[in-house]
C-alpha cells in the first residue's frame, strides 16, 4: 500500500522527496510533546469544562489526529503515510500552568512518523488556543519537541534528559555556568542545606562523582553523599549510576522516596 501512496505523490511533482521505495517496511513509532501555557484562571475554566466554545480537549484531540493524517499536505517534502495509530494525551498542569500535550504515532512503513507526531502536537496546541482565546489571548505555545522515535534505518532516538524541555522561568543566565544542587528530606536536614550553586570549573570531572568530590572539598560532611542510600537525579531524572554533567544542570540528592 505505501507504494501506491508514494507514486501518487510523485505525480504531484514533489521532485525532491527522498525515494523510499527501496527502504524496508518496519514498524515505526514516534512521540512528540509540547505545551500551552495559560493563566491559572483559564486553566481552571478549562478543567471545569466551562469554556464558551465547549469541550476543549476533545476538540483538540480530534484536531491533532486529523492533522497527523494530513501532515503530507502541510509539510512540502513529507511522504503520505497510512498511519496505524495516532494517540493524543493531555495533562492539565497547575504548575506550568497550562496543558501538556503528548502525541504518539505508529505506522508500518518506509519513513519515520516524527513529522506526524510533531504536527499532531502543534495543531492540537493551536486548537487549544482557538478554543480558549476568548478568555485568554496571552497563552503561549511552547516546547514542541520530539521525545523519541523507534524503527527504521537511523534506529531509535531518545531525547537526552539534559535537553528535556529547558523551561525558562527562574533560571538566571548568570547560573548557566554552574550546577544547581538541591537536597531533600533527611539529607537536607542533616547537611542543613537546601540548595547550592557549584561553579562548573570546581568539578574535577564533568560527572556526578566529580560534583560529589567538589561538594566534599567545600564541606567534609558531604561525604555522606557517597552512602548507598543516597539517590541522585540529574535534571529531574533519576540516575542510577555515575552520570555526565553539563553547565546549567540541576542535580538533586535525596534519600529513598516514599509517597502515597
Amino acid at each position: 500500500m505505501p507504494d501506491e501512496a508514494l507514486s501518487h505523490l510523485d505525480e504531484r511533482g514533489h521532485a525532491h522527496m527522498v525515494d523510499v521505495g527501496d527502504k524496508i517496511v518496519t514498524q515505526r513509532t514516534a512521540e512528540a510533546s509540547g505545551h500551552v501555557r495559560m493563566a491559572p484562571h483559564t486553566l481552571a475554566l478549562l478543567a471545569d469544562d466551562a469554556m464558551p466554545k465547549g469541550d476543549v480537549l476533545a476538540t483538540a484531540r480530534i484536531a491533532g489526529i486529523q492533522a497527523a493524517k494530513r501532515t503530507s499536505e502541510l509539510i512540502p517534502l513529507c511522504h503520505l503515510l497510512a498511519l496505524s495509530s495516532v494517540k493524543l494525551d493531555f495533562a492539565l498542569d497547575t504548575e506550568l500552568p497550562g496543558v501538556r500535550i503528548r502525541a504518539r504515532c505508529r505506522v508500518a512503513g518506509r519513513t519515520g512518523v516524527e513529522m506526524e507526531a510533531l504536527t499532531a502536537v502543534s495543531v492540537a496546541a493551536l486548537t487549544l488556543y482557538d478554543m480558549c482565546k476568548a478568555v485568554d489571548k496571552g497563552m503561549v505555545i511552547g516546547a514542541v519537541q520530539l521525545e523519541h522515535k523507534e524503527g527504521g534505518k537511523s534506529g531509535d532516538w531518545h531525547r537526552e534528559p539534559a535537553t528535556l524541555e529547558a523551561e525558562p522561568p527562574a533560571a538566571p543566565v548568570a547560573q548557566r555556568d554552574s550546577i544547581k544542587v538541591l537536597l531533600f528530606a533527611a539529607l537536607r536536614e542533616t547537611l542543613d542545606t537546601e540548595s547550592i550553586e557549584v561553579p562548573f570549573t570546581e568539578l574535577a570531572s564533568a560527572t556526578l562523582s566529580g560534583l560529589k568530590e567538589a561538594l566534599i572539598a567545600r564541606d567534609a560532611r558531604f561525604a555522606l553523599l557517597h552512602e548507598q542510600q543516597v539517590l541522585s537525579a540529574v535534571n529531574q531524572r533519576m540516575c542510577k549510576s555515575d552520570a555526565p554533567l553539563s553547565p546549567g544542570d540541576e542535580v538533586g540528592f535525596f534519600p529513598p522516596v516514599m509517597g502515597g
Binding site: F90, A91, D93, R100, G252, G259
Partner: protein
C-alpha cells in the same frame, strides 16, 4: 485524559471523577484508591505527617507513570493527586483514579499506579509523634509490591 496535581490543599474525589467523566459516554468503570494518614506505623500515636516533594520532578514522574499505565491498559482517563505539607491523622494523602471501558483495566491500572507511585515518585514522609519527628524509611513490602509489575 491525564490529570496530575500536587498541592497542600485537600482534594475532592467527586470533583476529580467529574473531570475524568466529563462529556464521555464510553467509560464503564471508574476505580479509585485513596491513601490516608494513619495514626500508627512503626510508632504508635502518630499525630501528623509532613510530606516533602521535589517540585517539577514529582509532576513529571507522575505524568510518566500515568502514561505507562495508559500504554499497558486500555484506559480512558487517569488522575493522580498527591498532597504535600503537614497533614493530620485521617487526612487523605493521595488519590489514584482510573477510568476505562471495562473494570479489569481500571482495577489493574489503579493498583499498578499506587504501587509504582510509592517507590518512584520523589516524596518523603516525616512522622510526628508528640514533640518528636522522624523521617520514614522505605519499606521492603512497598519495593516488593512495585517490583511485581516489572516484566
Amino acid at each position: 485524559m491525564i490529570y496530575i496535581a500536587v498541592h497542600p490543599e485537600p482534594f475532592d474525589a467527586a470533583q476529580i471523577e467529574q473531570r475524568l467523566l466529563a462529556g464521555r459516554h464510553d467509560i464503564g468503570a471508574v476505580v479509585s484508591f485513596k491513601g490516608c494518614v494513619r495514626d500508627f506505623s512503626e510508632a504508635s500515636n502518630v499525630t501528623a505527617l509532613t510530606l516533602e516533594h521535589y517540585p517539577g520532578m514529582t509532576e513529571q514522574m507522575l505524568t510518566e507513570l500515568a502514561e505507562q499505565a495508559s500504554e499497558r491498559w486500555s484506559l480512558s482517563g487517569v488522575a493522580l493527586v498527591h498532597r504535600v505539607g503537614k497533614l493530620a491523622a485521617g487526612d487523605g494523602i493521595v488519590l489514584v483514579m482510573t477510568a476505562a471501558a471495562h473494570r479489569r483495566d481500571a482495577f489493574a491500572a489503579c493498583e499498578f499506579l499506587i504501587d509504582r507511585l510509592k517507590t518512584a515518585a520523589p516524596f518523603w514522609k516525616k512522622e510526628h509523634v508528640g514533640d518528636t519527628a522522624h523521617w520514614v524509611a522505605e519499606r521492603h513490602s512497598d519495593l516488593d509490591a512495585s517490583r511485581r509489575w516489572e516484566e
